[in-house]
């Protein structure tokens, strides 16, 4: 596969919730490998909905309707016979609210790999250390991996959740407003770790703000009321937006 082949490819995607509200309307976009792709826009634009379609967490909501395709590495994730567990290991989600599972830091990190069939203790420990280092949390917790994950601070919890996703050794990491509950210093730490991570992973992120979008994005997509208004190179979009609505949003005229 050539470098420029998209990792995620969305075509003619429509999505409607049980209450008939159309959350997404004819979305088309490509996410390229080893980039930070940012989905931004006002609330209720459909950003989180779109993110949750990438690894079929959307399945957890009852009564929804969908048209169109979401392809990961060229294969539609909604095709019959797709192993959803395997998909979610390849395309891993970090949620807005840091949610450790009950148990120790170590338990949290090995939960996914163990379910994937990794039994070897050395391999599990390798994954624990590697993912914690990549999430910039290793130095703070290396001496207390057995401590409860709930004893960590908010910023540490969120980096633990990022590490927990990384321990799955995914291709794509989905970040749904991962810094929403964090203070500016923790936010900066998380953002810095993103720059390291994109060497190895493809990152799709719903940012906390336009400012954060501009800081971290390589590619960006602006969504508004379920429609994709503009998509493309982030640097260009944040300096010379092509659509009036994008410009209004970026410059703070609404939203």
């Amino acid at each position: 596969m050539a470098m420029s082949d998209p990792v995620i490819s969305v075509r003619n995607l429509y999505f409607t919730y049980a209450d008939e509200t159309e959350a997404l309307h004819n979305i088309n976009l490509d996410v390229l490998p080893n980039q930070v792709f940012v989905l931004f826009g006002p609330s209720r634009a459909g950003k989180s909905t779109l993110l949750r379609l990438f690894n079929r967490l959307s399945d957890l909501t009852d009564g929804t309707q969908r048209q169109g395709t979401v392809a990961i590495d060229g294969r539609d994730v909604f095709e019959a016979g797709v192993d959803v567990s395997a998909l979610r290991r390849r395309v891993s989600m970090v949620f807005a609210i840091p949610t450790p599972l009950p148990g120790s830091i170590y338990d949290n990190l090995v939960y996914g790999p163990r379910l994937a069939g990794v039994r070897d203790k050395v391999e599990l420990e390798r994954r624990v250390e590697r993912s914690l280092r990549q999430a910039a949390l290793w130095d703070e917790v290396k001496d207390r991996l057995d401590a409860s994950a709930f004893a960590l601070s908010g910023g540490q919890k969120q980096r633990l959740c990022i590490a927990r996703s990384l321990a799955l050794e995914p291709e794509v990491i989905l970040l749904d407003n991962p810094t929403s509950g964090l203070d500016p210093i923790s936010t900066a730490t998380v953002e810095e770790s993103l720059f390291e991570l994109k060497d190895r992973y493809t990152i799709v992120m719903v940012p906390h703000s336009v400012q954060q979008a501009a800081r971290v994005a390589d590619q960006a997509a602006f969504l508004l009321d379920g429609e994709l208004v503009e998509v493309g190179d982030a640097e260009r979009m944040f300096v010379h937006p092509q659509d009036k609505r994008t410009e209004d949003y970026i410059t703070g005229r609404f939203g």
């Binding site: 690894n55 967490l57 957890l60 009852d62 567990s85 395997a86 979610r88 290991r89 891993s92 989600m93 949620f95 609210i97 949610t99 599972l101 009950p102 148990g103 939960y111 996914g112 379910l115 994937a116 409860s148 994950a149 709930f150 927990r164 996703s165 799955l168």
Partner: protein
């Protein structure tokens, strides 16, 4: 009346009402202990009744109640848990599950004698188990199921939704999520429900009346198809059916039954507080 006075009045009224409810219960317990304690002895617990039950102990009835409690647990536990998991995690909300839920709520309110009659018709006669420990355990098991199912379902639903979402997002299947993230945290509530259900089963007379309980049977049961004596029915018998029964033995039997039921409640409370303390979130 100032706000302060209103507050004080409310505290007084509520305390008095609470006392009116609690004091009779405590008095009943104290009375049974006071009257029954002199009868309690090792011999009372380990000997069979003699001389038309006017002498001797309560061992066959005590053992029968213990056996029936175990039997109830074996019948009720797996079915109730499976039903609760199905209702809470798989069933969703539709016409069928609303009917099932309504049936469970209604079953919990049915008088226990109706369960006894059902057990007689279904297990003793139709299935041909006869008056036996098996028939009695099945009847008691079915009687406790609604309560155990409801408590277990509540305990399962009380596990925060985000643990399920996170678990699924990490590649767990639905069953793995239930197995590793839901059941362990719902366990204290489930166990509490089971123990309280068993406590009720141990103390009930009506469901065992036609299905298992023997009037007087000093021999111990040899199989699950045998009858057995049981404490609640034995208490009923010696209180109403045997003329000239010494009061001491009646109250001693009542005290043992009371202690068994109270110990179930106590264990349930201990389990719950212990496991709550260990909970992290």
């Amino acid at each position: 009346m100032s706000r302060q006075q209103a507050h004080r009045l409310a505290v007084v009224v509520l305390t008095v009402v609470a006392a009116i409810v609690v004091i009779p219960i405590i008095l009943v317990i104290l009375y049974v202990v006071w009257k029954g304690l002199p009868a309690l002895s090792w011999a009372f617990l380990t000997e069979a009744p003699r001389n038309g039950m006017k002498e001797g102990g309560i061992m066959p009835a005590l053992l029968g109640t213990i056996l029936l409690t175990f039997g109830t647990a074996i019948v009720s536990f797996p079915l109730s848990i499976a039903t609760a998991i199905y209702l809470a995690e798989y069933a969703g909300d539709n016409r069928l599950t609303r009917w099932i839920r309504m049936a469970i709520v209604n079953l919990a309110g049915i008088p226990s004698i109706v369960y006894g009659l059902f057990g007689l018709g279904m297990f003793v006669l139709f299935l041909g188990f006869g008056t036996s420990i098996l028939a009695g355990s099945l009847t008691l098991g079915i009687m406790t199921m609604p309560v155990v199912i409801s408590t277990a379902e509540e305990a399962i639903l009380a596990v925060p939704q985000q643990f399920r979402t996170v678990s699924l997002s990490l590649g767990a299947t639905r069953w793995q999520t239930i197995r590793y993230q839901v059941l362990p945290h719902a366990l204290p509530g489930i166990i509490t429900g089971i123990i309280l259900g068993l406590g009720r089963a141990a103390g009930e007379t009506a469901p065992i009346l036609f299905t298992v309980a023997a009037f007087y049977l000093p021999e111990l049961p040899r199989s699950i198809f045998d009858q057995t004596m049981a404490l609640p029915y034995h208490l009923y018998v010696i209180s109403t059916q045997v003329p000239g029964m010494p009061l001491e033995i009646q109250y001693g039997t009542a005290l043992v039954l009371l202690l068994i039921v109270l110990s179930f409640t106590l264990v349930a409370t201990l389990v719950r507080t212990q496991m709550r303390r260990r909970r992290e979130w």
